[in-house]
Symmetry: C2
Subunit: 673 residues, 2 copies
């Protein structure tokens, strides 16, 4: 006699099969390879395996599906609903609901192990969730004098029996805690397994907290995102100033500090690690969890931050040939970098690419994946150095260009970091040469009524990086700055805004008040930006020439600068090559996103390690062409179109190319190359 | 035109081949798979690859060999001889000597990587030298701005190119030290590689010091041997008292201490680790090296010592069901047990077998390898518990038996540890009932002239474990103790040596002096030994019954007790089963030897892990038969032969079985079983 069975169809996978009446939906799904999550192993306590019954006639599948074709809601499900949130209408725990007749079962993405994490606005791709660390709940056999075996062996037997995990190793701290956990949990424990191979944590009973931290160690700011490893969600974020700033504002001054103070690298390592512990505590607190619930952390950073984080003296990076200690990904224990999270937490540091192209750029590449497509993508992460990547599915090239800190508002007389009170937007009337501006923290323009009252709290304190770019571009468009970068002193006769400043001239953006001196753009400020933008552009041109392309199809600007800058103005100044405006966008904190991807998707680690090896590394310092491009790019591009048309162009929303003489020259150069 | 070549024959391997004139002997040997050591990779600086030219006509090989058929001694070899010891007559560095004609080349065992380490007296087998940690000297490519790559990658490239090592990982501490080492060594470094996979240490230039430490953590004594990992030689040994003694003399009192003092396990863990650091420093100093030259350590110990060493609370081992935290081998970093050796040194702890049968027994099994042979071997390691293994190439069984500390001289009124002044040998004249004895530290018997002066320094302070056994056996043979263990009070009439002691009698071994009370064997002392020996014998009988054998072919007594006891007396008392005397011997510190084998031969680790899994573990506490055997074994065996014949027998040197009624009973029992 054949046992009665029924047809079960799972959506969205479409997998289907006949199962004996009484089979649980979880068993049925798993036997078909349907991706249904479960931590508790089908005991009805974790609630991860929820599914929805689809009601109605499904001609395509040849069945009529109904909630009636499942066993009634069980006591275990009622208990689950009572001690957690009640199950939503139509939802069942697939480990409890048994097949009684034909059904179509929908597995919502929240119940899938390998779900996609929906991307945030600036991010290029969804993240495939497949974390290195997973939790497993098991019931362990009690010890028996007639069959002596260690508690660990019986735990491993349970993990093999219930979850199919084999050849496991175990951290000694887990061995130390295992016996207490087993007895406290009455032989039920949850373990965290790293990479499917290493038991790294144990808790009595069901434990569902597994978090990871993705960290971008910038020279100025350290930013951390705490992610729930089961959902992939960012549950808290925080940032702190990099305390290494007290050893030097920019990277090279920190390396100099080490050169002048042997052992100084240890102070800086200690400082950054202390800041990381503060951050870990802060994100944990914001998410309402313990730092010890953090089981893994991933890191990106430029080469010097990378080395200092890892306790490697960065002095070799301070001079030619700029040798990295390692260009491999680094795998560590949290204790090896003194990180106060779970004792056995693991660390993954993305690989550096070259002496000036760091793990942060690896993070940008991983977030953006220019290798997946044929259009040529330019990735630019602007800091003290601009790290530049150019590539597509054929080739990828990277270099670093010494832009200096001007784009971050440093070395600009009125410059400041992006903070409330800083000017971030500037418009100059080409007729009157009068400026108007907006400051961070206020939605009004400076010529709007009520502006003065609105900014009374902070005042107008300086000009941030994106404000400088706009100010210079608007000054150029208004004719205040000439092609070669000098402020036109003749205009002093036309407007009091243009003022003599020693042997040069300057432009007054905001007049002095009782409390503050005037904010003025000096000739030297223009020069600083020119040097920076020439370096950036020269780096891009070098990569374009090497790749043999005369245009880029897409530009993604990573980092804080990229998020705030108005790309039209960057093109006016000739910072970046010509590109259809709609294809130029901010990539947000792409480096940090890369760290988050490496945290949430273990397969991404091999991807970025392979990509980094394939990247063609260009050292600008030894490229004579870089110097040529740099000199060429010092001037501000001639406007090839009549002044007014360009004015219109930059005010048109999108799909309008800003064609400059320089860009035309670039194309000629590339054809020659 | 064919290049000229010559025939090269290597002995003792017999491998042979033709090689172009000018080939180095090292190249030739390696291409034939001849085992020739080299750390420096053929640069003529390590001297490990020395070979001997065999002179003369070798008809078998069809050639005439001569030192003339090699290139003349090179400048490199002269330099090596000048800065080290000059090369012995006929010796050449195989990396320098080039083939010029037919030669027979002998590779001495000292130049082989996989040499045999000649065993010490008590050891069962030679050790195959194949350590986990090996040193490699390499010349690393300098960094180049035109081809940016990390120093680590170039190191790995060199290791692959020169030594064929691939897929290496690298400890972060090595990454931290690598750049300095490379530059200090002018791009020549030596690295230590663990398991052929993990770069664990780096030094500038050639570094030939690689040591390992094998440690036996006993409840009373901790003993360490420092081994040169390139020769396998023990270069220094040292022992210290286990400082845990202050928490309790025997194992169970230490577990009780933890039960009474929560957290007490941490104190004991700290104490043993501190002692290990003292030991490591001491063996290093004795060998004239640094503790940081110790790159690996292996450990054995009973389950409670094992757990306390690893920071595992041993409280579960203090009561049924005696569950081990783990019965697997444990691999760690030295830092995880706070061991002050090389920062990246690795630890290997042999597996425990069962709740009462520890990693020390695993060490004994590895040293003795009863599984290699068909004769049934009994291995006994006597301490507070006797750990007993019985087996051959078919089966292996193990149990632990609670002998108590009497065999170590504890709980005996006149007992003491084996130390100068302790009685270790006893003879009693059956006619006069007068004793004579020897003490540790003196070669004279107590009735020899000059004995009193010889022991004036220490005096006669007590009786150690082996002395107690001899005293009781001699008392029995002299008729002072009866079959059931009572001291015969009737003899008080015959000799003042037998004295009343409350309601029982005692035997005076040494009379009182002005300084010290008399040394007397009390009735309670006899009972304590009876309990211990009955437990031991019952454990052995249980295993014999389980294995279905009525005799053992070989007995090996491990540990200090086994080294000092006269096995004839152990048989007289019925401690161990009947066996041909020549097949009963001391195995020395077999547990420590096992640790040393695991240190020197990485393949042995898998061997012992597999063996331990195969061992049939018997828990005496749940075996009713154990209680029966125990009760049966309380009495001292009847002498089946006339008194005088046995007296002769035990004085005959070897190959004379002591046949006792009990042993005969054992056989009957085994036939029944």
């Amino acid at each position: 006699m054949q046992a009665a069975d029924a047809l079960v169809v799972f959506t969205p996978s479409g997998r289907r099969g006949r199962f004996p009446i009484g089979s649980s939906l979880l068993q049925a799904g798993r036997s078909l390879g349907v991706d249904i999550d479960s931590v508790c192993g089908g005991r009805g306590i974790c609630g991860r395996c929820q599914v929805l019954v689809s009601e109605g006639e499904f001609a395509k599948h040849g069945l009529v599906s109904s909630a009636q074709n499942l066993s009634p809601v069980s006591a275990v499900e009622q208990e689950y609903g009572a001690s957690n949130a009640p199950l939503a209408e139509g939802r069942r725990l697939s480990c409890c609901a048994q097949v009684q007749g034909d059904v179509v079962i929908d597995v919502p993405s929240s119940s899938q192990v390998h779900k996609q994490v929906v991307r945030k606005e600036a991010e290029a791709h969804d993240i495939h969730l497949d974390p290195m660390v997973r939790l497993y709940f098991v019931q362990v056999q009690e010890p028996d004098m007639h069959e002596p075996s260690g508690d660990l062996r019986r735990l491993e037997d349970a993990l093999e029996f219930e979850w199919g995990l084999t050849d496991l190793s175990c951290d000694i701290v887990v061995v130390q805690q295992l016996q207490t956990a087993l007895r406290e949990g009455q032989w039920s424990v949850t373990v965290a397994v790293h990479a499917g191979k290493q038991i790294m944590a144990v808790w009595p009973r069901l434990h569902e907290k597994a978090f990871g931290m993705a960290v971008d160690v910038g020279s100025t700011t350290i930013a951390a995102h705490l992610c729930d490893l089961s959902s992939g969600d960012v549950v808290a974020s925080a940032g702190v100033m990099n305390p290494q700033i007290r050893f030097g504002e920019d990277l090279m001054s920190r390396v100099s500090y080490v050169m002048m103070n042997p052992g100084g690298e240890r102070e800086m390592t200690a400082a950054v690690r202390e800041a990381l512990n503060t951050l870990a505590a802060e994100v944990a607190q914001r998410a309402g969890v313990q730092p010890t619930d953090i089981l893994e952390a991933t890191f990106v950073g430029n080469p010097i931050m990378h080395h200092l984080l890892l306790g490697i003296n960065p002095v070799e990076l301070g001079g030619a040939p700029f040798a990295l200690a390692t260009d491999r990904a680094v795998r560590l224990w949290a204790s090896e970098i003194d990180l106060a999270v779970h004792r056995n937490a693991r660390i993954y540091v993305l690989p550096c690419i070259a002496g000036h192209v760091g793990a942060d750029t690896a993070g940008v590449i991983l977030a953006e994946r220019p290798d997946l497509d044929s259009p040529v993508t330019l990735l630019v992460d602007v800091g003290t150095n601009a790290e530049i990547v150019l590539g597509n599915n054929q080739r990828m090239l990277a270099c670093s260009s010494p832009t200096g800190p001007a784009f971050e508002g440093a070395q600009i007389s009125c410059g400041q970091r992006a903070a409330p009170g800083a000017i971030e937007r500037v418009r100059i009337d080409p007729a009157t040469l009068e400026p108007r501006y907006k400051v961070i923290g206020c939605d009004l323009w400076s010529d709007d009524p009520g502006f003065a009252q609105a900014v009374a709290g902070t005042g107008v304190t300086g000009v941030c990086g994106s404000g400088i770019i706009e100010a210079l571009a608007e000054m150029y468009l208004a004719g205040i700055i000439r092609h070669e970068g000098t402020i036109d002193g003749n205009l002093a006769a036309r407007t009091p805004r243009v003022q003599a400043d020693g042997r040069t001239f300057c432009y007054e953006l905001a007049p002095a008040t009782a409390e503050k001196p005037a904010l003025r753009i000096l000739q030297n400020d223009v020069r600083a930006i020119q040097l920076g933008k020439a370096a950036l552009y020269a780096g891009v041109r070098l990569l374009m020439e090497r790749m043999g392309v005369d245009k880029v199809d897409r530009i993604r600007l990573a980092g804080a600068f990229g998020s705030h800058i108005d790309v039209k103005y960057a093109m006016v100044l000739g910072m970046i090559p010509d590109c259809v405006l709609s294809n130029v966008s901010s990539a947000g904190n792409a480096a940090g996103t890369g760290a988050r991807i490496a945290l949430l998707d273990k397969g991404a680690r091999k991807v970025i390690e392979d990509l980094v090896r394939r990247v063609e590394k260009i050292e600008t310092a030894v490229e004579p062409r870089f110097q040529e491009f740099f000199v060429e790019a010092m001037a501000i591009p001639h406007l090839s179109d009549p002044f007014e048309r360009l004015q219109d162009a930059v005010r048109l929303p999108e799909r309008v190319a800003v064609v400059t003489e320089q860009n035309a020259r670039s194309r000629r150069g590339a054809r020659r190359g």
